[in-house]
Symmetry: C2
Subunit: 298 residues, 2 copies
């Protein structure tokens, strides 16, 4: 028996509310602007946009719960099949003012096909413009702690999945220091629906305690124009990843979703500089050296 949809959407909607509150309390300057939208084919969402704060320059914490006939372009791919779908979740991307405060992303979601097949998915990953190893260790440790409550295989498996997913193939670089990624978590003999849902809730609840301490530690660091330029340059990579590889973005663009909500993941400003090669042993150089798969942070 599938879980009650209302229980899941209620959790996601509350998660959106709680995360927005925590971020506003931290930022002290800007507030989320909220927009409720309806989808003609069924369902809708709440787009919460954050702009021009002390800490965050641009970002979003979006909730949606949509349903309807599976778009043809996706039905043809055997991963989904034909029929009626229901999808709900929370999506977050936050771009920062200070180059020493990392970009954060999280998505937690629930998907149902024809009221029969269903699964949970999600991911959370940290993209520092300058990698500070202790921050990466802290971040991964929080995620591991949550994963370990549910299964010892979760963290290693989902961490590897994140390394593979948040990967910019044409650059041979990871997007940042990774995190976890998981998909198609269904009910089976080892895990009940309740247990799967509990896991996704705890991941959602891990967002603030795994990210805010890193923000607080770095938000008052002084930075130079050179640091700012590097941030703009690294944001260019974020744009490349999201437009070329990100499955959620592609899904949105192909199904003509709400484009402005989908592309809220893009930074306010980004740069591309031809053949930039940071000086050996500079902080920028050292960051590039850590944008690799299979680093064991914990």
């Amino acid at each position: 028996m599938l879980l009650e949809r209302k229980k899941i959407t209620d959790y996601f909607q509350n998660l959106q509310k709680n995360i927005c509150k925590s971020l506003e309390d931290e930022d002290q300057k800007s507030k989320f602007s909220s927009e409720t939208w309806q989808r003609e084919e069924g369902g809708g969402g709440i787009t919460n946009v954050f702009q021009d704060g002390n800490i965050w320059e641009k970002g979003c914490v979006n909730f949606s719960a949509v349903s309807g006939k599976m778009p043809e372009i996706l039905a043809k791919r055997d991963t989904f099949g034909e029929g009626n779908f229901f999808a709900t979740g929370v999506s977050i991307v936050l771009h920062t003012q200070n180059p020493f405060v990392p970009i954060i992303h999280m998505n937690v979601r629930y998907f149902e096909m024809n009221q029969q097949k269903a699964w949970f998915g999600g991911g959370i990953d940290l993209t520092p413009h300058y990698i500070q190893e202790n921050d990466a260790v802290f971040f991964h440790q929080q995620l591991k702690n949550t994963c370990d409550k549910f299964s010892p295989t979760y963290y290693p498996e989902f961490k590897k999945w994140a390394d593979d997913y948040f990967y910019i193939k044409h650059r041979n670089e990871t997007r940042g220091v990774g995190g976890i990624f998981f998909d198609r978590l269904e009910e089976n003999k080892d895990f009940s629906w309740e247990n799967r849902f509990q896991f996704v809730q705890e991941i959602g609840n891990t967002f603030i305690p795994s990210y805010l301490p890193i923000v607080q530690k770095n938000k008052n660091k002084k930075y130079s124009q050179e640091n700012k330029n590097w941030q703009l340059y690294r944001r260019g990579r974020y744009v490349e990843f999201n437009l070329v590889y990100d499955a959620g973005t592609k899904f949105g663009l192909e199904t003509s979703g709400r484009i402005e909500s989908i592309l809220l993941s893009l930074p306010k400003q980004a740069e591309w500089i031809y053949d930039l090669k940071p000086e050996k042993n500079s902080p920028e150089f050292n960051t590039l050296a850590l944008l690799k798969k299979d680093i064991n942070w914990v």
Copy 2:
């Protein structure tokens, strides 16, 4: 009988040289930096990068002539098939300092499979940040004049092809005011190889006379910070097109081409602003209204 490769590459290489010379003469400040590269699997190219000029902020005029075994990922698509390929051409993208000077793009190319099948292709399109109708008319008239020398069907056919190709589907916007796009021009009963080659040469030679007058007309126009912001915002669309749709870029990313050369098409700086809606009847608003297919400029 196919044309001699050397004849074609010589033309493309000279075209690169001539165009770079004309642009430098016009800019008066910056010069192209030139880098010759070799490809392990065969061939190479000359990447000519332009940065921080009076007129152009960032751009490239690239020549390449590469050969080797068709990459598997492309061979599987029936458009190419398996075997040995040879490809040569010139690719240009120029981003401007002044928001009233349009971005320009041109690509002219020749492709050969297994020394049997071959074709010419190319395209040239203008992307104003602010559309000025008389500039669009002038630009299209130049292209039409060149097309008309070869066939009365060329311009209408290739103009429509450009409308369809340089189209940002998820925005329901054309990239700019279009131009022409053509591909798979082979020898047939109506057109000899010599004639096809002649056409591509004349298109290449049309680049400077169809673009520079527009540059000269607009380069000294005064602009405000608001105009500059709009330029950055419109460049965001250029990034979206190139990373999501552009066939040449996709080809490059998938075949792990020379990434820095391929992504030279991206502007130095771009912006994304959530749900920007220009004021009715503003120049920005009027530009958006003209980013449509099927406008008959001439």
